[in-house]
């Protein structure tokens, strides 16, 4: 079983290949995040992976204030995806203070702290 990988590794490997996969419960049909071996809603243990649609809205947001010489201010937010799950992330492409609650955002795979990460940009149109 040396090739066996758990839900966390499965998610991270897909992310490293540029894919955002979300765990979905076979029993109750609800998505959840973060990945785990059971469904936190119905506690079923049969979980499948689905490609994330990538659309969501900023549920709440803050600006972490940091001195310019240490990299300057940056955004930290929690995004709710259309699938109903929430994740911490940041919105890139606009000033951190311009990220507002309910703003429509689109996911992309980028890098945070040197590791592949789900990031967001403002949705177009």
């Amino acid at each position: 079983m040396q090739d066996a990988i758990g839900p966390d590794q499965f998610f991270q490997r897909a992310l490293a290949e540029g894919e955002i996969l979300l765990p979905k419960c076979d029993d109750c049909g609800a998505y959840h995040f973060f990945p785990r071996v059971l469904c936190p809603h119905c506690h079923g243990a049969a979980i499948s992976w689905k490609q994330a649609g990538g659309k969501g809205r900023v549920h709440t947001t803050t600006v972490v204030r940091r001195k310019p010489e240490r990299g300057g201010d940056y955004n930290v937010c929690v995004v709710e995806l259309d699938e109903g799950v929430r994740m911490m992330s940041r919105v890139e492409g606009i000033a951190p203070g311009e990220v507002v609650i309910d703003m429509p955002v689109t996911a992309f795979v980028g890098e945070a702290e040197g590791v592949p990460a789900v990031l967001f940009k403002p949705s177009e149109g």
């Binding site: 966390d8 995040f33 973060f34 549920h59 709440t60 947001t61 803050t62 600006v63 972490v64 204030r65 940056y74 930290v76 937010c77 929690v78 929430r86 994740m87 911490m88 992330s89 940041r90 203070g97 609650i101 309910d102 945070a112 702290e113 590791v115 990460a117």
Partner: protein, 383 residues
């Protein structure tokens, strides 16, 4: 806790040490000084302690370290770590242990030297794996996002948040034990350095050293001690999440559930409470907990605290020692909500002593609004 445990245990001693800056002392030194102070208050010795309730930020087995340091061999220990709420939570386990005869003298104790050791919040917890890459500043980013959501949904203003800090300072100014006693206005809070929007550094708790301790015995023998006993009438907990991104509703905490059960156990209502001691790590906490514990309706917390309504002379005395915002905040403040509530009931509060206090509420918060624990304490008159 069920109503069967109402009034079964009592606080017979409280103590603290190292408030502000405890130069040259380790966290365990501060813990031990606090223990001695509380036992002295109760007229007891360390050798009387056979139940130990302790957690610290210093290592993974703090209750064992504390017992070893104190030179005791307790027959009951509880080192449950739910963050700053842990020490309010121990009121429940200590009451259960005392009532079951598992121990006779329960010592709840805590100490920290985070200010003189590092100058910042000391935490032993690892950043959650699915949040760490985004570099949230722990814990302020979590509370800032709760505040942002409360402002968005209910129109709560930064001015109302600021008034929480101003009220805390007004209490602290009359408390010689409080660390920050200088003047503080709403404008000072609003104009202070922004740390995590919408919170400025004055919306945040202090970073101090300090320790606290509580001695509890069974109610059957609670009147045999020098100080008037303070009874645990009800205590209840609820935990909702660990990572802030997993909090279901950023404007409603598990305090709604813990509070309702604590009130039911004690057989009282929010209107009966004469002093309210809340874990105010950030100004938004006070607003959230006043709402969730039933002192005002959801969304009305901002208006409830506005313009000195929870300051000395206001409509409800909240955080009468100055709270974590202005009195002391050594990393886990929860124990100090219990100590101040007990002292208000005993009549020996260090700052403003309210008149004829029979019922007080202490509320602990742990993690990032994750663990909520409510305790209702009462005088002999409330039994």
């Amino acid at each position: 806790m069920t109503t069967e445990l109402r009034g079964k245990s009592a606080i017979v001693g409280t103590g603290h040490a190292g408030f502000g800056e405890a130069h040259g002392l380790t966290a365990y030194d501060v813990m031990a000084q606090s223990a001695l102070a509380a036992l002295g208050d109760a007229g007891l010795n360390l050798s009387d302690v056979d139940g130990l309730f302790c957690t610290m930020m210093e290592d993974s087995m703090p209750a064992l370290m504390a017992a070893e340091y104190l030179g005791i061999q307790p027959r009951f220990i509880d080192g449950t770590m739910s963050g700053g709420s842990s020490f309010v939570n121990y009121l429940t386990s200590a009451t259960m242990a005392l009532d079951a005869g598992l121990c006779d003298v329960a010592l709840i104790v805590y100490g920290s030297n985070q200010r003189t050791a590092s100058g910042r919040l000391v935490t032993a917890s690892r950043p959650p794996a699915y949040e760490a890459p985004y570099n949230p500043r722990y814990p302020i980013s979590a509370y800032a996002m709760a505040a942002a959501r409360h402002m968005h949904e209910y129109g709560t203003t930064r001015e109302q948040l600021a008034d929480v800090a101003v009220a805390a300072r007004a209490w602290a100014q009359r408390n010689p034990e409080a660390f920050e006693r200088g003047p503080l206005t709403r404008e000072d809070v609003l104009g202070a350095r922004m740390v995590g929007d919408p919170l400025t550094v004055r919306d945040c708790c202090l970073v101090t050293d300090g320790g606290g301790a509580i001695v509890m015995v069974h109610a059957d023998r609670a009147r045999d001690f020098p100080k008037a006993p303070v009874y645990v009438l009800g205590s209840a907990a609820e935990s909702s999440h660990r990572q802030i991104s997993q909090m279901k509703d950023f404007t409603v905490t598990a305090a709604r559930a813990s509070g309702a059960r604590a009130f039911a156990a004690a057989g009282v209502t929010p209107a009966d409470i004469q002093a309210v001691e809340l874990y105010d790590a950030f100004t938004i906490n006070t607003i959230l907990f006043l709402e969730d514990l039933g002192f005002c309706a959801k969304g009305e917390g901002g208006a409830f605290v506005e313009g000195g309504r929870i300051a000395p002379g206001g409509v409800l005395p909240v955080n009468t020692n100055g709270g974590g915002l202005s009195c002391v905040h050594p990393g886990m403040y929860g124990i100090f909500t219990v100590i101040e509530a007990a002292r208000q009931i005993r009549g020996d509060a260090p700052g403003i002593q309210l008149k004829d206090i029979d019922l007080a509420l202490a509320h602990g918060n742990g993690g990032v609004l994750s663990s909520q624990v409510t305790a209702i304490l009462g005088s002999q008159n409330t039994l």
